[in-house]
């Protein structure tokens, strides 16, 4: 389908506002400070982000205290957050958990939790992946047990965004109704949450172990279709975040190539460096097209949205990683040091490639949908 890619003046304003906020609240020093903590984010910044900026409730309807915006606006915000390497429970709370609630959860739960999320009182996350290493729906094998009119969970969830700090965990698991969504609150009995030492320390991941942990089923009927959409929206948002990071890497590389002198001239005047930068530019522009197509597709409920989302995650994963890797190479020895931020982007790039399934996984999804 043909997508109208037109960002409006309101979008441009939103982008400028978010960028200004992040420049003052999530500069490199702030990122380095938060990434070395276990919590992984600054609660004061999160509060301002939710209360002043209204970003925690960006996708949440106004009736529940949110901003009532859509995936195009979400894409703009994610792009800026990716650019700034913001350390915050945003992807888990405002993207995955919020979408899971909106698409899978019953009215009561939805209302209760969305109000808290929009106000910045509640952080939440979605637990999806398991030790089997798969990212598709068939990889969700955790079986809920019916007990005393409710359910219990026993087993493990992996790679849960902010799983060690989230107030509420939404867990994808099997029940007699098929794929279902369960709610487990922090402090539930038999729940052990373990922070994983991660490749990318700017985004915290945890393992959740359940041992006869009481869980409330908050969905009705099989959620496979809705859940596929939740993951696709998450993929589109992550793709936008990757675009922001990739663009930043390109800018860092180009700035350095203009000022670093060797053999008496800027290294950017050598074609070996210049052509790397030109190729990065082409790739970043392509990645933008893919991510924007996915975000506009999600907002417009395009019938081929699942295809576009897979295409975007596949493309942006590779583009971001390549841009981050080339950024290190162009910075030479300095690019390899702890002191420069090149490694922070490199680690985020690889982690966001692997999270939710890598580029090859998403090409496989796309091939299946297109019939290749």
């Amino acid at each position: 389908m043909s997508i109208d890619f037109s960002f409006t003046e309101e979008h441009d304003e939103l982008r400028a506002t978010v960028r200004a906020f992040l420049e003052s609240h999530s500069d490199e020093a702030a990122v380095r400070e938060q990434m070395s903590t276990d919590r992984g984010y600054d609660p004061e910044v999160w509060r301002q982000l939710a209360e002043q900026m209204g970003l925690a409730g960006l996708l949440i309807p106004e009736e529940h205290g949110g901003a009532g915006m859509g995936c195009v606006e979400l894409g703009v915000v994610m792009e800026e957050m990716g650019r700034a390497l913001l350390c915050a429970p945003y992807l888990g709370t405002a993207v995955f958990a919020t979408n899971a609630l909106q698409h899978c959860a019953d009215e009561t739960t939805r209302k209760e939790l969305l109000v808290g999320i929009a106000a910045g009182r509640t952080t939440a996350t979605l637990a999806h992946a398991e030790p089997n290493g798969r990212w598709d729906l068939a990889g969700i094998e955790l079986q809920a047990k019916a007990a005393d009119g409710g359910f219990t969970l026993s087993g493990e969830k992996r790679w849960v965004l902010d799983g060690h700090t989230a107030d509420v965990m939404l867990v994808a698991a099997r029940s007699d109704e098929g794929l279902s969504l369960f709610r487990v609150d922090a402090g539930a009995s038999g729940l052990v949450r373990t922070l994983v030492p991660t490749l990318d320390t700017t985004r915290k991941l945890a393992s959740l172990r359940f041992d006869r942990t009481p869980a409330q089923r908050v969905s009705t009927g099989d959620q496979s279709e809705a859940f596929a959409r939740v993951l696709a929206i998450g993929g589109a948002a992550l793709a936008a975040e990757q675009v922001g990071g990739a663009q930043k890497c390109l800018e860092m590389a180009v700035d350095y190539a203009k000022t670093r002198l060797q053999f008496g001239r800027p290294i950017g005047s050598y074609q070996a460096i210049k052509h790397k930068c030109a190729d990065m530019l082409v790739e970043v522009e392509f990645a933008k097209s893919a991510a924007y197509a996915a975000c506009f597709g999600a907002a417009g409920e395009a019938e081929d949205f699942l295809e576009t989302a897979a295409l975007a995650k596949a493309t942006c994963s590779e583009v971001y990683f390549h841009a981050a890797a080339e950024n290190i190479q162009i910075h030479g020895g300095m690019g390899f040091t702890w002191e420069l931020p090149c490694h922070l982007y490199f680690k985020r790039a690889k982690a966001s490639d692997l999270f939710l399934g890598d580029a090859a996984h998403h090409r496989e999804v796309l091939a299946g949908l297109v019939g290749i």
């Binding site: 997508i3 203009k258 001239r265 005047s269 530019l281 522009e285 392509f286 295409l311 090859a360 091939a367």
Partner: protein
């Protein structure tokens, strides 16, 4: 640019209907109709009156085409007989030609009676066109031209050529060029087909030996040739880069998917099949990204806010296209060994219809994509320097007389 006078769309449509009442496209040949169309000022409405136009905005050209198509099954000159004449020849003659030349040349460009070609590239001047060596030496009210041009489309059919030649070798390269309209029938002009990798000739070589050109066939002043030429070159690059499919999975992607779906059953092991499938998917994605980026560029253009998305198409398309047809041959496997069309040296006859034959043809033809209209290496320089603002290479030919610069 020029100021245009205003005319309502309805009045313009009325004028087209008056033309159609006088002569109808379904009843005469292209020359007969387009001669009248020119006389009515409906050839290119943004040209001045008397030269096939009405001094209107170029946007209104579409209205003329639309109104003709509304009343006639035949639209003569769509596509035009001389793409180069219409796209490059006419604008340059209008901008730089004398009144007499405009009168002589413009009508026959429009009717298609006279085909035009462009004589810029030379064997020793490819990416560095401004370093060209063909010389033009003044002899009274004529110029005597000697040299060789290459990659000249339709030279064998052309009546006129747009020639860039060196009139002063003692100044830096850009300053010593002049621009001429060359009569391709003049004594000393020899056109030979240039056979390419496919065995066909889409292009020609043009040899010029003591060819005499009247001084009044110079466009622009002596030494201003580069400035005159630059407009033409920019049009060419836009024309080459603007392609790509408009529809999801359309165009070349559809051909590749057809080949993939009709692959020989059982020829590939599961491992090979998985690898090729991923490459086909990558190619599908590449072409989607081209299409989406072109869409994004159009939206940005419309919003009056064009960014780098418009500049990357030429480079990306060339590389993607080459990769795709390489893949197509791998999908064909052993059948890719056969080349049924053969290599008999011949004039170009267009692209094959059959998908397998097309794949084999494009496997060879697409090599030129990253060379013609600016090599990929030159495009990367342009993106690096003009879009990203990286510094240029130190130049050894800057501020040096052309004749002092080493050449191959």
């Amino acid at each position: 640019m020029a100021e245009y006078r205003s005319m309502s769309e309805e009045e313009l449509r009325e004028r087209v209907r008056a033309l159609l009442a006088e002569v109808h496209p379904e009843q005469v040949d292209a020359v007969g109709f387009r001669q009248k169309q020119f006389d009515h000022g409906l050839a290119w409405v943004h040209f001045p009156e008397g030269h096939g136009g009405l001094g209107l905005s170029p946007k209104l050209n579409l209205v003329v085409h639309d109104e003709i198509a509304r009343h006639s099954k035949v639209v003569h000159g769509d596509p035009p007989a001389s793409v180069i004449g219409i796209g490059m020849g006419a604008p340059v003659v209008l901008t730089y030609g004398s009144e007499e030349m405009k009168k002589r040349l413009l009508p026959k460009i429009f009717t298609g009676e006279e085909i035009w070609c462009q004589l810029f590239s030379e064997p020793s001047a490819g990416s560095d066109v401004a370093g060209l060596a063909t010389s033009a030496v003044r002899d009274g009210d004529h110029w005597i031209v000697n040299g060789q041009k290459v990659w000249t489309t339709v030279a064998h059919l052309s009546r006129w050529g747009m020639l860039l030649a060196r009139t002063n070798p003692d100044v830096p390269k850009h300053d010593g060029l002049s621009y001429f309209v060359l009569d391709m029938h003049a004594p000393g002009v020899e056109v030979r087909p240039l056979y390419q990798i496919t065995g066909e000739a889409e292009f020609n070589e043009v040899f010029m030996t003591d060819v005499r050109i009247p001084h009044d066939h110079m466009l622009g002043k002596e030494g201003q040739g580069w400035r005159v030429a630059i407009t033409t070159l920019m049009n060419e690059r836009v024309a080459i880069g603007g392609g790509g499919s408009k529809r999801k999975g359309g165009g070349a992607t559809a051909q590749l998917l057809k080949l993939w779906r009709e692959r020989k059953p059982g020829a590939l092991s599961p491992g090979q099949e998985a690898i090729l499938r991923d490459r086909v998917t990558r190619s599908y994605i590449d072409n989607e990204l081209l299409r989406l980026t072109a869409q994004r560029a159009r939206a940005a253009q419309k919003a009056g806010n064009p960014g780098p998305e418009g500049s990357v198409a030429k480079l990306a398309q060339a590389e993607i296209n080459k990769r795709m047809w390489e893949l197509a041959l791998d999908v064909l496997g052993g059948d890719g060994l056969a080349f049924e069309a053969g290599y008999e040296l011949r004039q170009s006859a267009g692209r094959p219809q059959n998908v397998e034959a097309l794949a084999k043809y494009q496997f060879l033809r697409s090599r030129a994509n990253s060379i013609e209209g600016g090599t990929s290496e030159i495009m990367r320089n342009i993106l690096g320097e003009r879009v990203l603002g990286l510094p240029g290479e130190p130049r050894v030919d800057k501020d040096v007389a052309w004749k002092e610069v080493p050449r191959s």
